[in-house]
Amino acid sequence: MNALKRHCALMFLAGVLLLLPLALPNNYYYDIAIHMAINAIIVLGLNLLIGFAGQISLGHAGFIGIGAYASAILPTHFGWHPIFAMVAGAAMASAIAAIVARPIFRLKGHYLAMATLGLGIIIAIVIKNEAAYTGGPDGMPVAALGLMGFSISGEKQWYWVLAVMLLFSFWAAQNLIDSPFGRALRALHGSEVAAQVMGVDIVRYKAAIFVLSAFFASLMGSVTAHYVGFVAPNIADFFHSIELMIMVVIGGMASIYGSLIGAVLLTALPQALSTFEGWETVAYGSILLLCMIFMPKGLVPTLAARFGRNDQEEH
């Protein structure tokens, strides 16, 4: 992909984020936009793992949970500064990812799905059980995020913080994919043996991208905790992992634009479905089924192919 197109996409996203507040009538819509941005950043990281490197993870919410609870527990129980707590959470999530990465990425397909799923569920159960620190199933409040005497509060401030974070993540993902690292990832997705023959240390690359996506997930977990001001164990549960994976797949695997679209659509969907009163679960499930049956490659790649553009350029 050429640099010009990349810059255009980045400028376009910046423009949308800049103009969006004009279209947001009240704090409720700001709130949805903020959650969309949070999910988009997580999904960008997850798509690098699932879409580009071709490695499934059914336990990513576990890492989000680690970040969220680090930001909740360390300042409340140990008096840490929230920024240090956030960094510590991200470091812990990365460390866990790094430790399990070697044995996990010798596995493939369904065995890999099982291992990541198990890891996520174990983290969720620990959070639910260590009630003395985590508040158990009831959750716990989170202190405000302050930096040098200035604390971020209110939907409008958080919106701009997340807009900047999203732009940075988008830019970073774009660059990563076109770097030698990104090419190595795509190579091992194409054929692990071929990549190995070409000198790509496949387990090391898979581990690196796993750690990176865990790092981002944990960071966004911390951000969510501070923004909402409260954490509950469902942030780490199996469903949240599935929701994130669905965002990746519906938007389009190995498509950066797809990650954004997937996150935006699936964050909005439960809001839109709340009018169905009781039928939300059925509607949500049916929409997933229909999307996967009719667009198994995801929205963005399918539409791109439909309108005659080269699929390869969508990276």
Partner: protein, 291 residues
């Protein structure tokens, strides 16, 4: 000491038998279509919930149970017809999401229809516990074990002695070759889903008097069944049964001797260790992958 051990063993084997049935369901579908059916746990839930519903509407117990199992099998067939077949050539991840979507639909429908309450019905033959060396065994546990054993024998007969069973085995070995010798692989897919839905429902029907049921019990039971199937090497029927019993017993032992709060985590800790050290499960065959 011994009585306590026996007590944990009994409860482990009872729950393990249900995991075994779920794991057999996973294995069947995996062999026939290479799909991990994440809706498998929902069949366990549907079986228990429907049996409860029919009994509550005044249908005699045996008939209610048969109806519940038959309808679950029907749901399995619908799942193939409406979701799996239309997406025949999708990637593994897409198929996983399809089965997850289906499980949400099933759970949602049951939740709307039968509500969010926790339900149960009387055990098949009373609640008078049987004393064995100081430990108590519920009659319902015997039902669970006996019927699971019966199902396993019936499945063994089906797969080794009947043409239909052999057709399924042939399809799981090599779909194209099976097609070439005239096996209707479409039908094989239908039969596999119907059969594993029925297996799940049987597990649910048997377990409900002991552990109760509600619209959301399917997820955990299904995931543990998946653990059992992977412990057994994913694809091996005998492995699935042994895996189910093993997961159930280890879970009960660890809950009893170590920590009951972490009961649900134990199967997943177990599977991580197994996968780290035996990447193809305990009973998995050595496979050389072709490039």
């Amino acid at each position: 000491m011994l009585s306590q051990f026996l007590q944990f063993l009994f409860s482990g084997i009872t729950v393990g038998a249900t995991y075994a049935l779920a794991a057999l369901g996973f294995t069947l579908i995996y062999n026939a279509s290479n799909v991990i059916n994440f809706a498998q746990g929902e069949f366990i839930m549907v079986g228990g919930m429907l049996a409860f519903f029919f009994m509550q509407s005044g249908i005699p117990m045996p008939l209610a149970i048969l109806l519940a199992i038959a309808i679950s099998a029907l749901v399995g067939i619908l799942l193939v017809k409406l979701a799996i077949e239309p997406a025949r050539d999708a990637e593994v991840v897409a198929l996983i999401i399809i089965t997850l979507g289906a499980s949400l639909v099933i759970r949602g429908v049951i939740q709307i229809w039968l509500g969010k309450g926790v339900h149960s019905y009387p055990a098949f033959s009373g609640n008078e516990p049987i004393q064995i060396a100081g430990a108590t065994l519920l009659p319902q546990s015997l039902w669970v074990l006996a019927i699971t054993a019966l199902v396993v024998v019936a499945l063994w007969y089906f797969f080794s002695r009947t043409l239909a069973g052999k057709a399924i085995l042939a399809t799981s070995c090599n779909r194209l070759a099976a097609q070439l010798v005239g096996i209707n692989t479409q039908r094989v897919l239908l039969v596999s889903f119907a059969l594993s839905a029925a297996l799940g429902a049987i597990g649910g029907v048997l377990l409900t008097p002991i552990t109760l049921t509600s619209y959301d019990v399917g997820i955990m039971l299904g995931l543990k069944g998946f653990v059992a199937a992977v412990v057994g090497g994913l694809g091996s029927g005998l492995g699935a049964v042994l895996g189910g019993l093993l997961v159930g017993i280890i879970e009960a032992m660890a809950a009893g001797y170590i920590s009951s709060a972490y009961k649900d985590a134990i199967p997943f800790i177990l599977i991580l260790f197994i996968l780290f050290f035996m990447p193809r499960g305990i009973f998995g065959a050595q496979v050389t992958e072709r490039v």
